[in-house]
């Protein structure tokens, strides 16, 4: 066996027009290691991985596999060479079944002329169950975004590869699924498969990885053993300055008057009898496992999904929200968890994406005021730290995390009374995350009601003053004060080994 690294990238540069996404990057992956790749949003992580997987071609530089210079001209070639990639952006065939998606590459490579659905479904279910018991005959379009993420991961597990790349696989996963994934990755490692792991969650990197490479502004900064590093050090290398990773201070004293009160909200299908209050000054969290129904509750509340019964009181006034536009008019806005499908307009400019929620702000008479729109976009992108060419660029030219920042900027552009954020920091780097947390706290302080749905437990506990935990479409309990991850998980999963905890509700 040669001692050459499995995959080596030397002096790789990539330009998109005027944007230098990567500059003279070196990267090497040893056999059987789990190699973390860190960097701010837009640092060039996904770009490098897309080059390794044959999706993009480098502007210059070379790629070596087992020490031999190789050209990876297409995803098909990458697959033949044994390089697999779990994409940051979900890329599934929505109209096909989960099973077909999972085995798409295998189907493509197989010689047999006919499909064998029975075997396909059986094998797919086996793979799927490693992560979560999603029925594989379902069409992908029926799945929530987090479940789609799991399918995307399952898909990669069926590849017969030597190098497996995970590009932010856990961005929308809860602790349980994340742990299941780690289990699998460790098994893969034991089979001496080499793994590149991209994440913005430091804890994961330190729990899982052997080495860590840091990128900044499209350049390689450092590669070290994880055991030689600390999270703070990694972050400093990423950002180039010290960042306090601590959460903003929580609400001190009593919260103000009730802004929103929900009583017995049901949709007759996915959730039932949901009641909670939101008070001025506090940040309310919604916790739960994937598929618990948090997203549906938020959608129901905002008129984006029909509800069958329930009462919503906004600022002391009972309101009936027929559809989302009327919710927006009443000051209730929702940030979608599914960025690509319903969060941003990929082909439209950054400025147009930000102004959409309240076009009146940028309208004079019946015409758009381009200058106002540009000013608004400039102010908000700066505030959010969006890394971009210019505000007229299409959102599709942004990195995943920066797209998410644009989506949040859109919510910030209006002055809502209640803001519901579903997985707000999905794919967002450490520095920006802290900024967003601060922003949420400021909003809460200024009297805006803030509800955060997050699958990332530390975030949920760190940011929220109070957490309502949802289990199978019902309120399983509520936590406040000094919350622990364990308590949330226990409520969310309904496991009651400490007896009384389950009866908190």
């Amino acid at each position: 066996m040669s001692t050459d690294p499995v995959l080596q990238m030397r002096g790789v540069s990539k330009q998109f027009g005027a944007i230098h996404a990567l500059t003279e990057v070196d990267f090497s992956l040893e056999r059987g290691e789990i190699h973390a790749l860190c960097g701010e949003n837009g640092a060039g992580k996904s770009t490098l991985m897309n080059i390794a997987a044959g999706i993009l071609q480098p502007t210059s530089g070379e790629i070596l596999l087992d020490g031999a210079v190789t050209t990876i001209s297409s995803p098909a070639t990458a697959q033949k060479l044994g390089i697999g990639l779990v994409h940051q952006e979900i890329a599934l065939c929505q109209d096909a079944s989960v099973a077909e998606n999972i085995f798409m590459a295998a189907t493509n490579a197989r010689r047999s002329p006919l499909m064998n659905y029975a075997t396909l479904n059986r094998n797919a279910q086996k793979v799927m169950n490693l992560l979560a018991p999603i029925p594989v005959r379902r069409r992908v379009t029926e799945l929530s975004i987090s479940n789609q993420q799991l399918v995307e991961i399952a898909k990669a597990l069926t590849l017969d590869c030597r190098v497996l790349i995970f590009d932010e696989p856990t961005a929308a996963l809860t602790e349980t699924e994340t742990q299941a994934l780690f289990q699998i990755i460790r098994v893969l490692k034991a089979r001496s498969i080499s793994i590149i792991y991209i994440s913005h969650r430091m804890a994961e990197i330190f729990a899982l990885c052997d080495r860590v490479t840091v990128f900044r502004d499209g350049r390689h900064m450092s590669t070290d053993k994880v055991s030689d590093m600390t999270p703070d050090l990694v972050v400093r290398r990423m950002v180039g300055r010290e960042i306090s990773q601590i959460y903003p201070p929580k609400l001190e004293g009593e919260p103000g008057k009730t802004l929103l009160s929900v009583e017995g909200l049901s949709d007759g299908e996915r959730f039932a009898d949901i009641s909670f209050d939101l008070k001025a000054g506090e940040i309310l969290g919604l916790g739960g496992l994937i598929g618990a129904g948090r997203t549906e509750i938020a959608l129901g509340l905002c008129g984006l999904r029909p509800v069958t019964s329930g009462k919503v009181v906004l600022n002391g006034e009972p309101v009936s929200i027929r559809d989302y536009p009327s919710a927006v008019r009443k000051g209730l806005v929702y940030l979608s968890e599914d960025r690509k499908a319903s969060g941003v307009f990929l082909d439209m400019s950054i400025a147009a994406n930000i102004s959409v929620l309240d076009l009146k702000q940028v309208t004079s008479g019946i015409l758009l005021d381009r200058k106002k729109e540009a000013d608004q976009a400039r102010a908000l992108t700066q505030k959010m730290g969006v890394r971009m060419g210019g505000i007229d660029d299409a959102v599709s030219s942004l990195s995943g995390g920066n797209q998410q920042k644009v989506a949040i900027a859109k919510q910030m552009s209006v002055n809502p009374r209640i803001i519901i954020m579903d997985e707000p920091t999905r794919g967002i780097d450490v520095g920006a995350k802290t900024e967003i947390h601060k922003l949420l706290r400021e909003l809460a302080k200024s009297g805006v009601g803030v509800i955060v749905i997050s699958s990332e437990l530390p975030e949920l506990i760190g940011v929220c003053d109070r957490v309502v935990v949802i289990r199978e479409g019902r309120v399983a309990g509520e936590l406040s004060g000094a919350m622990t991850e364990e308590a949330v998980i226990r409520l969310a999963s309904g496991v009651t080994n400490t007896g009384d905890l389950a009866h908190v509700a």
Binding site: V328, S342, G343, F345, D347, M348, V356, L357, L368
Partner: protein, 307 residues
């Protein structure tokens, strides 16, 4: 800008034609070309907006015809021609509203809805006319002036056309209401999640497209002094082709009025050139198709280069 490629191609063709035929670069010929696509150009405007929102309308030819027929029949029944025209245009708008209903409330797609409308509305023209062209010979001259009159040597039709195009091009680029059309066509779900009433947007765009077709019908009536029940058969393909050549996508989210009009101009220059050069009728179709394909390929090439 997408349009530059088309402009370059049209200019190149025109220069070539100027050398090939002494008649090409005359005001008479330019006027002839403009006249020949001015009225259809009004329909192209509506179609482009509809394509941007992700729709399509196969019924425009039938609606143009029905607007003609209804206005004509009203006039023959003694209604004054201006009121008759208004009725024709209103009926067209109503047809658009009906299609909008089927698309936004019933939930059918634009293709099948407008296909059915195409057949139904054509049928209604047959019913009204009993298959024979209505002779509107008695239309008063001041009404005929819309289609046949001039203003300082420039035909009214061209003035109307330019006004409509400039106005809608401006609105489409600048008006808030039309921006919503882009949002809806670009990503309907995201638009809904941004508080845009996408159904309303689609409904009104559908109405707009039919209404403009109705306007075109009235102008045609004024120009030809007749209402023929077979008028406009197959027009939709030409219109959609112009918009698509001009950069509109059948998947919605992109397109400009100016581009679509350039697409129309390209088609018109080609047709007109073939006649000026006295190309055999048997060869005209093939050559026209080849030039079209070539032009679009070159445009695509110029366009994708710039990215």
């Amino acid at each position: 800008m997408r349009e530059t490629g088309l402009i370059v191609i049209i200019l190149a063709l025109s220069v070539a034609m100027t050398f090939a035929s002494p008649h090409f670069a005359t005001w008479g010929n330019v006027r002839a070309m403009l006249m020949s696509f001015s009225v259809e150009g009004i329909v192209v405007v509506g179609m482009t907006v509809l394509l941007i929102v992700g729709g399509i309308d196969l019924s425009v030819g039938s609606v143009v015809c029905f607007s003609m027929v209804v206005s004509g029949a009203m006039f023959l029944m003694g209604v004054d021609p201006w009121t008759a025209s208004l009725i024709g245009i209103s009926v067209s708008a109503l047809i658009g509203a009906a299609m909008g209903f089927f698309v936004t409330v019933v939930g059918l797609n634009h293709f099948i809805t407008s296909l059915a409308a195409m057949v139904i509305v054509r049928g209604m023209s047959l019913i009204v006319t009993k298959g024979t062209p209505l002779s509107l010979f008695t239309l008063p001259p001041e009404f005929k002036a819309i289609g046949q009159g001039e203003f300082y040597g420039i035909p009214f039709v061209i003035i109307i056309f330019v006004a409509v195009v400039v106005m809608f091009d401006f609105l489409l680029r600048r008006a808030t209401a039309f921006r919503k059309v882009f949002y809806t066509g670009s990503n309907e779900k995201a638009a809904q999640y941004s508080g845009i009433r996408t159904r309303q947007v689609k409904f009104w765009v559908t109405v707009l497209c039919s209404t403009l077709a109705g306007v075109a019908g009235v102008i045609y009536m004024s120009r030809f002094g007749a209402a023929t029940p077979t008028f406009g058969v197959g027009m939709e393909l030409n219109i959609i082709a112009a918009a698509v050549i001009g950069g509109a996508s059948l998947n919605g989210g992109s397109g400009t009025i100016f581009g679509a009009i350039l697409g129309m101009a390209l088609l018109s220059v080609v047709s007109s050139s073939l006649i000026l050069l006295d190309v055999s009728v048997y060869w005209q179709d093939m050559i026209k198709g080849c030039i079209l394909l070539g032009a679009v390929s070159i445009d695509h090439f110029l366009h994708s280069k710039k990215r």
